[in-house]
Symmetry: C2
Subunit: 340 residues, 2 copies
DNA sequence: TTGTACGCGTTATCAC
DNA sequence: GTGATAACGCGTACAA
């Protein structure tokens, strides 16, 4: 590592002032060609490397944003995170990630830590839309964009999808295939508004088509493969099991498929399954997973653009963007074997 | 946002010096209970929040480490990244991620950018073990840990797995099942030493069992689902197609499985497939994927511990750790249909 | 136990 | 076009 050289060292060697060195770095055109070359030379001589942290300190801009997600290990969040990183990188920002594991306490802690680190704004996939974390950020007018949530109005900017509509369409797709007994493996409502909205779409769809709601057919679970497997087993062991299941995310859906198979069921004939997310792997398994596609990468990109605009005060008012989800009909859904 | 208050403000309100406030923050036990309470009170009064960036500037420690991986969207890297984040978090560090997309130029750029940001060390899953990026870091004795590579000696610390052995065992497993015509969907050698080592293990295993090496049976491809599908189709369209394929990672393997199915082949009877990684999804598809498990999360954790020790100068000498891979025999491999 | 004074590397505001 | 110098918020000798 050794000693870092500073603009002072460079200035001394090039026999100019530190101000000039700084100018060479930040606006070379304001410096005469001669001194400029001179300074570059000096930089090379003492192996100068720019200290972006010191700049941040002087300008009071960290050029970093905080990102809080449930966990980077879920491919859907990895996808949106990549979108965020790509845009941030483009604008000279970097991203500090915090994994909340769907726990509000963690979310709270992470926000505090990242604020100490002087992030200029937050992108949050929150566990509690009405919690204090969000409201106090809002109250301070701290730059903030919510990701994945369905938010149409209010003081908080959000880039998400219509989770209600997504849940509705997933269910409607099953109904249109002739299913009447439709289960749902829902994410825990305590995890987020998204879990609730997807379920609410499911429920409203049933109502619209005159199918009575049976609480037995709804299981709240973790957003994990294992939970999906367990949930499916539980539903299919009911006296009157469903002929189709809507799963709140693709991980649950893939788990459910495996659970059903382990019970000796054949897919999709014995059981139709719809997921939610549209992770890539879904089209690489058999049967290919029918799902509601969220444009995650795009969401990350758009969200970051909104946040950066907000940080640079280019926009003052909150913006609410709902990206379109898309029903991808693949092979995991079909007509029920014995539609009565 | 409003004006941030500093320790000066707190000092003024509490009628103490800034040094005392600083002490209250960093070593409260060195301050009398009375003044301490007094200071806390003042902090609350002016909504003081600690500025970790300023501390970093003053102490010349950013408390951040740089992480360079091919892409966070590959679950195996998401997994190790989570391990890194968890340990870093525990020690008050944060992680800045750079995605190289397996491109050396990107890797080079990212290292430069992160160095400007004063990261205290790097964890790199490198594209080129012998490239200048690594060697100059090493030359400067800049804290650095290589991840995923097979490195047994030399000046660079590394936490990885024995990719050669992994490739060997994957192939040997197929041989033990009676396969003689074994293809490989290898990662591009230009991507990394890991690609090469896995292939080298494959090749040596063939040799050991007296199976002649047929270049036709080896395809170098991207580490992606789509490439796996295409590669499998290409191999299975050969005049004399393989009865089994060893895939350089699980994504390629899952893609290959789907490609084979699309050709009307039935798995595993018509084609056995082994992957490499052990991503979770592998045990949730049918047939479950036989694979070489890398302990990714663990690798991230251990790697970070090594790096932090190195940063804190607790260790001076490079350490080389090879974690054990494990052959997970599942359903995607069986005996060839017509072993001749 | 507490206070004073300076340094960290850069930017920004004046002068010249 | 260039230079001198005061911030920026905190840590830390050293002194009291």
């Amino acid at each position: 590592m050794g000693i870092m050289s500073t603009i002072r060292d460079v200035a001394r060697i090039a026999e100019v002032s530190t101000a000039t060195v700084s100018r060479v770095i930040n606006s070379p055109e304001k410096v005469s060609r001669e001194t400029r070359e001179n300074v570059y030379q000096a930089m090379r001589l003492c192996h100068y490397t720019y200290n972006a942290l010191a700049r941040g300190f002087a300008t009071r801009r960290s050029h970093s944003i905080g990102l809080i997600i449930p966990t980077i290990t879920n491919p859907i969040f990895a996808e949106s995170t990549r979108g965020i990183q790509d845009v941030a990188d483009e604008y000279g920002y970097h991203v500090i990630i915090g994994n909340s594991d769907y726990q509000y306490k963690q979310e709270e802690r992470l926000v505090a830590v990242l604020r100490e680190r002087q992030v200029e704004g937050f992108m949050i996939t929150t566990t509690d839309l009405r919690g204090k974390v969000i409201s106090s950020l809002l109250h301070e007018r701290f730059p903030l964009v919510l990701l994945y949530s369905t938010v149409r109005k209010g003081g908080i900017s959000a880039v998400g999808v219509d989770n209600f509509k997504g849940g509705f369409r997933a269910t409607e797709h099953l109904v249109s295939r002739g299913h009447r007994r439709i289960g749902m493996l829902a994410g825990k409502f305590s995890f987020s508004d998204r879990s609730y909205h997807r379920w609410y779409g499911y429920r409203n769809c049933l109502k619209k088509y005159g199918i009575s709601y049976d609480p037995q057919l709804v299981v709240q679970s973790d957003y994990s493969l294992a939970s999906g497997r367990n949930g499916a087993v539980r539903l299919m062991n009911l006296n009157n099991p469903p002929t189709a299941i809507f799963c709140a995310n693709d991980y649950i859906a893939l788990g459910a498929m495996e659970g059903a198979r382990q019970m000796g069921l054949s897919l999709p004939d014995d059981l139709s399954i719809v997921g939610f997310d549209g992770i890539k792997i879904g089209s690489f398994i058999t049967p290919n997973l029918t799902t509601i596609l969220q444009p995650a990468y795009e969401m990350g990109k758009v969200g970051t653009q909104v946040l950066l605009n907000q940080i640079q005060q280019k926009i003052k008012k909150p913006v609410h963007i709902l990206l379109e989800t898309q029903l991808i009909e693949r092979q995991s859904t079909t007509r029920p074997k014995a539609s009565h």
